[in-house]
Symmetry: C2
Subunit: 235 residues, 2 copies
Amino acid sequence: MCDACGCDLKPAHSHDSKVVEVHQSLLAANTAMAAKNRKHFDTMGAVVINMISSPGSGKTTLLEKTIETLGGDIRIGVIEGDIETDRDAERIRAKGVPVVQLTTGGACHLDAAQIHKGIHLLEKEKGGTEIDLLFIENVGNLVCPATFDLGEHHRMVLISVPEGPDKPAKYPKAFHSSQLFVITKIDILPYFDFPVEEATAEALQLNPELQVMALSATSGEGFEQWLDYLRKLCN
Amino acid sequence: MCDACGCDLKPAHSHDSKVVEVHQSLLAANTAMAAKNRKHFDTMGAVVINMISSPGSGKTTLLEKTIETLGGDIRIGVIEGDIETDRDAERIRAKGVPVVQLTTGGACHLDAAQIHKGIHLLEKEKGGTEIDLLFIENVGNLVCPATFDLGEHHRMVLISVPEGPDKPAKYPKAFHSSQLFVITKIDILPYFDFPVEEATAEALQLNPELQVMALSATSGEGFEQWLDYLRKLCN
């Protein structure tokens, strides 16, 4: 277990039965709370997507553009997760949709209990009880967030072109547990060695059920496919 | 307490004394092992740098270029940390220096016990006992690795231009605990909104002792400053 955050097991100290026991009980509590959240989301009538990626892969920019283009048709809300700062929430708020910022104060992932709190805070925001599509932007971290069910209906993993195409193989859990893999920032493909087909094939090898798409929130390339995906989820 | 359903609003585990106790004991064990590693490094006569960054910030590319340009003067060795795959070690091995790949099997950071194992593996590699400068390339994660002393002498944090300039404020611990902050991939500054001065100022606000430099391992811009830094460390 990562003693910083309670996530995955197996390094040098995995043989410590006390650690394993605490870890298992934390995860069980998280799973129970996630089930509660999922019921809450269903009652709200909101489809919920958990976004997992490295720092700087373009999650917030993708959300800004999505709200701009889809916000008239689908009522969008956002729960932002960060270790520190409310900068991402400020960016989303400027787009006129209900948003809540959760700061984890050091922890490297959101957990279901934090999201539970986030739901209640969101319901106090203007429009926060009338959301069709709720995005949870997880802490920028390709590792630990993959371990924690937040009660979402769908999970997506994002890799930006500058990060390189070897990330699925290096960070398999996020790919195993997601339904959607989005390659972002494809407008800068000419400046990087990023074979999209290779990254796609690696991801599909890990999880053949994955839907894969490549887009740029800056140039708009590939964006229609993303919007269609969201429209279908909300129908 | 949540008024709606009576559950605790804090993250599930932050107040659990058993969890805190286990974490403290793991961290204490890690610190003790790190001190042991540091002594081992001193006996070897090696200066050790722990590299912390997001996935895809260019750590391995920086190492490749560093070995190419400095490898004739300074004997370099590398311990690679990844969750899965030995791809980074293969890239370093191709440069002709001793290297060991540690895979954490799910864990999001290296710990001192893994590094202890890594040292012994390194000593079995050709040239592994005659290292002046040892790089530890940590798992791609800007969060948890900052919590774990590995016994290194110096710690550096890297942010690549595509990740955006807001990372110091969002991931403060890595900046608090490092001596060096390197901004990578500056050859692509023209394509991104990345004010180097702003990112530098934010980092220095968190840690006024930080040395900051900006470079590109591709174009070579700013590289001489990096090599000078390493030469001084090894003198």
